[in-house]
Symmetry: C2
Subunit: 195 residues, 2 copies
DNA sequence: TTGGCAAACGGAACGCCGTTCCGTATGTTT
DNA sequence: AAACATACGGAACGGCGTTCCGTTTGCCAA
């Protein structure tokens, strides 16, 4: 690994200054808009907030999913990275699973409408789907494997289904005080235990 | 309770013949359209299938939810009525619960997109929400109470949350073979058991 | 049978939304 | 400073739900 090819050379020449500025503005505007109006906020609203035209949004983020991913990338990353840490810190793999799922739920329920978008099977949300799952399924799998190995949970459990299930349970959380998504997720995770 | 006021008198005068005919046609057309294109099928499509104008749809069914309710009323009714029957026939209340939830899942997963519509918090779906819950929550409550009384499940369980949870888990079922909604529902119900 | 009227109809029209497209402006490089 | 690629803005388009109103149709009474 010599530093061959490193240095100032940029194979992808830097983008224009205004383009970088607008991308920043769009991310900020989108983040703010998502908080106040949910991830379904009309594209035009985001454009107005950012002070750009709608065309600029599509140039930077071809689909809404791309924008959502870009806005939440950091938090998803943090959630993914917390997995191995929890596994190391917790008394048992099952405890780690419960805590990790809790993090995931935290993330979902604070993002108005994100859980619903996550489940959409529209082609446009392929990116969103792919990013979430590619990043989180392996982490979940690792925890599940450990819990199975410890004999704590049923062996026939797959991370993909579990994550989608948890995601679905979080849909509509926060709209209705009678619907306690977190409790249902707890029940679901409890259902995984061997009896 | 004499048969006072019974007989041929109709306080609500019969609707016109064409109105009744169109309502029938609309219900049939909607049912067919829901099967092939899901409950999100464009209103115009239903109108074309029924051979009527869009205005006619809105005159008979002010909101999409009204139409959905009308189309599925029979099946919802059947599900509701199955509750007490299962409670009487099953070995334990918990068994009745499991079987009843299974019926509910059967209903949801065969109606493309219905589960998603059921969760929508848009004002237009208030009717749908209300009808489903008014009809099914009491039934579920009865079964849950029996199971609690038998000491089979946790005491702090509410029917509303459970039904919404099950409904949410059914969202997207059938779109992806890797997502097994029924299994997740089973896990959720298993999580209700006392341990 | 027919006249009149309320009921019901159809589809044009409106507004919102996502998305595309292209004439214009702006940054960058020589 | 000239020339070029890059990026911009917003008009324009198509699809959708919903409303509205001029027209038609069934019903009943004369």
């Amino acid at each position: 690994m010599a530093d061959f090819d490193s240095g100032s050379e940029q194979p992808v020449p830097r983008k224009r200054a205004d383009a970088r500025r607008n991308e920043r503005a769009l991310l900020d505007a989108a983040a703010a808009a998502f908080v106040t109006s949910g991830v379904d906020v009309p594209v035009r609203d985001i454009a107005v907030r950012a002070g750009v035209g709608v065309g600029t949004i599509y140039r930077h983020f071809p689909t809404r999913a791309d924008l959502i991913v870009a806005v939440y990338r950091h938090q998803i990353e943090a959630c993914a990275e917390a997995g191995p840490a929890l596994l190391a810190d917790s008394d048992t793999p099952y405890a780690a699973l419960a805590r990790w799922i809790d993090l995931f739920v935290d993330f979902l329920v604070t993002k108005h409408g994100l859980a619903a978008a996550l489940q959409s099977d529209a082609a446009a949300f392929q990116t969103l789907h792919a990013y979430f799952l590619d990043r989180l399924v392996p982490v979940c799998d690792q925890i599940l494997d450990a819990a199975v190995a410890a004999g704590e949970i049923r062996p026939d459990t797959n991370a993909y289904g579990l994550l989608r299930g948890v995601g679905n349970l979080c849909i509509g959380a926060g709209n209705d005080p009678r619907y306690d998504a977190r409790r249902l997720v707890d029940l679901l995770v409890a259902g995984l235990r061997v009896r």
